[in-house]
Point group: C2
Chain length 211, copies 2
């Protein structure tokens, strides 16, 4: 089983590494970071670089595709090299997945038409514009397509997917090993729970980046 | 403000990237990945590499130190270059922090003697051997030292620290932006909650790695 995690300039690091950490111990699986070119790919703040070990061309038929989001997603919406790779890879994949605004890239590739899907809460409107049924849920499974909400939701998506490909017991072992027993110090992780003025500020500025 | 995240061979990726994603948007902060040498550093499974942008020598007085854990921690316990750097950096840091078995490196550097601290649940015994008061809590604050439990606990630690250095409102904005409203699909994230046979298997094999 081959798991391909797609990188592009200005992705959000946790979007990629959250599901990676859940999926990378799947028995018999090879997990590989891919991008148009091999080498370091910088994230949205520029202070982190993850290495793409293979090019998109070198990984044509992954069993699982993971597309992270991030501010850089907008710059990829008309990147036909990436969109065409997504279409081809999806044609033979077992699971096609995204985190955060990564679902907009799946949508731009035409893969979410008529499907239920989710995205970062600030990006749900964009998703609907591509003919997807946008929901505010944290993890949405529609057929072989799994989409996750913003950034940290990729951890929940990844663990859900581990359960599907390696069984509940392995998923529980991964959860135990990674001590995924979250205890956030605040309760502001969704637009329903956060202080209204913060939600409003993000909506007004449509800011994905804080600094 | 400078935030240094330490990398070494066979670290666990989410240990580093979890707190990174929370901390990297702190106003006025520079976040930098450091290692003995510049360049890609491979994680515990070998399928991920994060780039160290600066050497330890180039970052002598960070305001915040973050030390991730992982199977590679054991190989660093007598690395005097790293331990000496930790001691020097801690002497002028505002906050010295760790995730998972990273606390064993702080302990080996002599920084946890007499302090309350935590670690991965499989590593708590090792911590006590260095004269720390090991607790099973998820995030432990003792003076300027903050330690986190295994892997994903670094997210909770990072967000806690963001609140301390940038205020509660900024921390809530980060939580909202990263949609950190966890909904794990299983409830097996601690030895108290996971199926007993899984806990026992990890304890017997003392395995940090599943494959």
């Amino acid at each position: 089983m081959q798991i391909a995690i797609v990188l592009y300039d200005r992705f959000t690091a946790l979007d990629a590494v959250g599901p990676y950490e859940m999926l990378c111990r799947t028995p018999g699986a090879e997990t590989v970071f891919v991008a148009e070119q091999r080498g370091p790919v910088r994230n949205d703040t520029g202070s982190l670089a993850l290495v793409a070990d293979k090019t998109l061309d070198e990984v044509r038929r992954p069993d699982i595709i993971v597309v992270p989001g991030g501010p850089g997603q907008s710059g990829q919406m008309d990147n036909e090299t990436l969109l065409s790779w997504l279409r081809t890879a999806d044609a033979s994949s077992t699971w096609t997945t995204s985190v955060c605004s990564g679902s907009l890239l799946l949508a731009a590739a035409g893969l979410l038409k008529g499907r239920r899907a989710t995205s970062h809460w600030l990006a749900l409107g964009g998703l609907a514009a591509f003919g997807a049924e946008a929901t505010g849920e944290r993890v949405v499974i529609d057929g072989k397509v799994i989409t996750a909400a913003g950034v940290s939701a990729g951890i929940d998506m990844g663990l859900t997917l581990v359960g599907k490909v390696a069984g509940d017991e392995h998923a529980q072992a991964v959860q135990l090993l990674t001590e995924y027993d979250p205890q956030p110090p605040y309760d502001a992780g969704s637009p329903q729970k956060a202080p209204a003025h913060l939600v409003e500020e993000f909506r007004t500025n449509n800011r994905f980046i804080l600094r």
